[in-house]
Amino acid sequence: MATQKEKIKARLKKGYYSDLMVLAATQTRIQDNYMEVIINLSDKFSKILRDNGYIKKLEYKPKEFWNFKGKKTIYNIDGGQASVQIPTAAPFGLRVVNYKVKPGDRSSNREDLISDPYVVTDLFDPNSELFDQNDDDGLADDLKKMQDGTRIIFEAAAGLRTALGVLDWPKEGKVVPKKNDMIFLHGPMVNPAAGYEVQGTISGKKYPPYSLETYNFLLPHRKEAELPEHRDEEPLEKYRKFIPIYCEILKKIKTLDVPIYGCVERPGIAPFGPLTKQLMDRMINKRIIKNTDVYRNSRKPNDPDGMADILRKYQISDSAFFDYMLDVGEYIDPQEINKQEESKWPISQWDYEYWGLGIPKTFSTYLKVSENKKPIRIETMDVRESYNEDLNMVFHSSRLLKSYSFPVGLDIVDKLAKTPDWMKRNVRKNAIMLTLRKAMESGNKRAVAIARKIAVSSDNSFFNRPKGK
């Protein structure tokens, strides 16, 4: 059996570390002892983690594991954007796909699929004075946030709607998930909300609220919502926006019996990432390591660095760090992470104490699925009794696609959520024709010239944002 050092050496030779090596190579001093530092880090720090029970082990036993006999249902949810190059704002289409499967079920009800497309602008309130705005610098950026935020909120709402059993499945109709079922989301369980709320203190602009229809769709439990304002017959525009809706969705998810997990395929690359930091802070609190082991704040040049400085210096992100710590089948004891940073919170609109801290925290872990891939991050609202078994499901379903090392259900739904190329081409062609025709009908020569340029270019600056109904 290979030692930790041998394993790490082998991993460092893999292609995906080349980006780190290139980065490290720009600072010669670091390059000299990069390998040595990593190997030491892995060898010694992982020992500390193991000795203190921070590393959990799952066994890969597929024949024994895949024995559910149809008694467990796994829901897989993903959203995709229709990133079509057309002379309008950035992607205007959104698709949320929900794939349900019962491993071991031999009937025709084993699998089911719901795939719902949306035009983003159709989701907003056309009666709002903010709906029809003139082109302005900065509005394009806001519109991108509007698109992204809508995708995020729809994915979260899909998880909620699935868990509440309000979805009408083509084969089985309305189905309420049971406690031993699972819901997987493709992406984080919780996102930093601040980025998707446009307050306009700089640009002075805001984007419109969601329509009442959309609002009801996103909050199917609205009549029993935690926030009283959500229960109003005619809720104010203010509450039909990203933060209040998102907050309500996540709070409701936290109360549900069925476990929901967000699986992150591409974790962040910031060194000394939040999970590493949280883990080390906890170890400091438990007196397993000293504060100065991590945050050695010495100005003396010969004093050794703390872990935080080392990880920053060597550009070691969460996924890289845990990749050095974990063997195949191992995961880190889940750590609670607050995604809503106070410094980035839009205070003028939403009180951080109530809204920011009101958005539930997540428990995150990294799971190493295969030797050749970095560990994946898995997030959930609560660490339940079934957590180890649930992670086992993530592990075994990811091992079916070893080279991808991601839950296969999410791979399936990811494929189905993508807008097919033939659709993108047709949409682009039709949109260009519409633009040209409108320009010609206007009689404005300049408009026609611009429309012709758009037809032959792939510039997607805002020009003719399609209006909703």
Binding site: P62, W66, P103, D105, L113, L400, S403, V408, K415
Partner: protein, 593 residues
């Protein structure tokens, strides 16, 4: 539009020859006939479009599951898990079928007794519904081209056993047919089907049978009856090389000399020709100018002619005094005697094979071949199948026999005399030996030109030919191209497949690919005998089969032979040992002395 019987929807690009459609799971298979409603430009000036049914045949079906990567397959195979136990998707598959368009008909035409198709001149619409026709519609589509046409039921559609497929008997016998398949592919079964079908009309047939594959017809002739219930007579002839007239005899002798590689020196050759042109030879072989009176001379077995020739040479030898000339004559005589021996041996082998068959089935009666000039009706007659059993003869002699028989009978038909024989069909097994395609063999195969003549002139004189072969690429291309109907069973050799596709007009690439996967009895049929090319399952006439000519069980035979001969062999070995011991003692004795 009614969605009844809808099995899919047209997708992608369409053209006037083909289209693809997404097939509903399990609702259709390869070879099925389908139709779709479409609008095409009307031929009438006062209408812009007319509604038609576009008919097609499913050539291929592909099945895809985009949500099932092959890596999962690798993992579940390695870990021996069943896929439905995991989260992997088995539902997200779809089938795409490719359709070859056969033609179109107006929608109201489907109410007629028969449906006739015209070529399609406008592509079908993507998104059109594709339907499977019911049995009634298919029968209307596949039924014959003219009223009262004589049909033979060949079998059923490969994918639908409820749909009978009939072929035109008239077209087969008038425009010839080729039945091609690898060994064991079902050629003989298919040919028997045709034979039975033609028997139903009492149609005379000649079968040239090198291996006795059709002798079962003789054993089971009581099961053959025409449509009026009249019995069919099956006769087995032991063929002979017949020749009449000096020219014919000499030509045959020279051919035989050459092909048996019996060479003569220049002096011997001169002597040979001297004998051949002698008055005695002319009288013996039959030459009106050489005889005292003009008389009709008979066709005789070449062996008889050769024996007569041998006698002429012997007399000459006896009378010759010059030693050198005597030696030359002696060499010629020996060569002629050798030729006689070769032919004699083959005829004996043929007789022995026949005797052996008779020992297995006492009912077999082998008749001597009649004189085809004077008594052709003994061979070609309504309600009669004449089998020429060619077992034991070399390829050359077989070819000569076929050539002579068919040449003689064709001349009779072509004479247009009132008392000429009726039309007949010739069925030629191992056709690649009789109409070879390669250069060398072509020159030494007399039957090639004869059969080509029958094929060319067959329509005029009713001398249809059915060629059967397991080596299509060895067949003469010109001859094969003269066949207007083809029944192709299993063919695995890519050269054979390519060859066949080249010669036929209606075989698509998918049909060619399907040839290697055919089960026994499955076939592709096309040409004048059917309305369109189809994949069929040929019916098997088990009642016409005989086990006598089936697969020999040599293991069992050896076992029986051993049981019978073992005691005798053992006794012989014991005797031999005794003699050996005597010989050894005698040798010892000699040494002592």
């Amino acid at each position: 539009m009614s969605t009844e019987n809808t099995v899919g929807v047209v997708v992608g690009n369409t053209n006037t020859d083909s289209y693809s459609f997404i097939l509903t799971s399990m609702s259709g298979s390869k070879g099925d006939l389908v139709y779709t409603e479409s609008e095409i430009p009307a031929s009438e000036s006062n209408k812009s479009a007319k509604k038609v049914f576009v008919w097609g045949r499913i050539l291929s079906i592909s099945r895809t599951n985009t949500a099932f990567p092959s890596e999962i397959a690798q993992e579940i195979a390695k870990e021996q898990i069943e896929i439905r136990e995991t989260l992997a998707s088995t539902d997200n598959e779809y089938q795409e079928a490719e359709v070859e368009i056969l033609g179109q008909c107006e929608q109201k035409a489907t109410e007629d007794e028969q449906i006739f198709l015209s070529p399609l001149n406008y592509p079908v619409m993507p998104s059109a519904q594709v339907k499977i026709p019911n049995e009634k519609l298919v029968k209307k589509l596949l039924s014959g081209t003219t009223e009262n046409e004589k049909l033979i039921k060949i079998g059923s559609l490969i994918s639908r056993s409820d749909i009978d497929i009939n072929v035109s008997a008239s077209k087969i016998v008038a425009r010839h047919m080729a039945i091609l398949a690898m060994t064991g592919g079902g050629k003989t079964v298919a040919t028997r089907r045709i034979i039975k079908g033609l028997s139903n009309f009492g149609y005379p047939m000649l079968i040239f049978d090198p291996h006795g594959d059709y002798l079962g017809l003789y054993s089971n002739q009581d099961k053959l009856k025409d449509e009026n219930g009249e019995p069919i007579n099956v006769k087995i002839f032991q063929p002979a090389l017949m020749a009449k007239g000096h020219d014919e005899v000499v030509e045959m002798m020279i051919t035989l000399f050459t092909k048996f590689d019996l060479s003569l020196s220049p002096a011997q050759t001169d002597k040979f020709y001297e004998f051949v042109e002698s008055k005695e030879a002319k009288v013996a072989f039959g030459d009106p100018a050489a005889t005292a009176a003009k008389r009709q001379f008979d066709s005789k077995d070449i062996k008889e002619h050769l024996k007569a020739f041998e006698e002429i040479i012997r007399k000459e030898l006896e009378g010759e005094e010059n030693k050198t000339i005597k030696r030359t004559i002696g060499a010629v005589l020996r060569t002629v005697k050798q030729l006689i021996r070769e032919i004699d041996l083959m005829q004996k082998t043929n007789k022995q094979l026949a005797k052996r068959l008779k020992s297995k089935d006492n009912s077999f009666e082998f008749e001597n071949m009649p004189n085809l000039i004077t008594d052709p009706e003994d061979v070609v007659r309504s309600n009669q199948i004449s089998i020429f059993y060619l077992g034991g003869f070399s390829r050359l002699l077989q070819s000569m026999i076929v050539s002579i028989v068919l040449e003689t009978l064709f001349k009779n038909r072509a004479s247009l005399d009132d008392d000429r024989i009726g039309p007949f069909a010739s069925i030629i097994e191992e056709a690649h030996n009789f109409v070879p395609g390669s250069g060398e063999e072509k020159k030494s195969t007399p039957s090639l030109l004869t059969i080509r003549k029958l094929l060319t002139e067959g329509r005029k004189f009713g001398t249809g030919v059915i060629l059967i072969s397991q080596r299509p690429n060895r067949l003469d291309e010109t001859t094969l191209a003269q066949c207007n109907s083809f029944l192709i069973l299993k063919l695995v050799n890519p050269r054979d497949q390519g060859w066949v596709q080249r010669v036929m007009e209606q075989m698509s690439d998918q049909d060619r690919e399907a040839l290697k996967a055919f089960a026994n009895g499955q076939a592709f049929i096309s040409g004048h005998a059917v309305k369109f090319p189809l994949q069929v399952k040929v019916d098997r006439d088990e009642e016409l089969e005989t086990s006598i000519m089936g697969d020999e069980d040599f293991i069992n035979e050896n076992s029986q032979h051993h049981q019978k001969s073992a005691p005798k062999m053992k006794k012989r070995d014991e005797n031999s040992d005794l003699i050996s011991s005597i010989a050894k003692s005698a040798k010892k004795a000699k040494t002592k002395i």
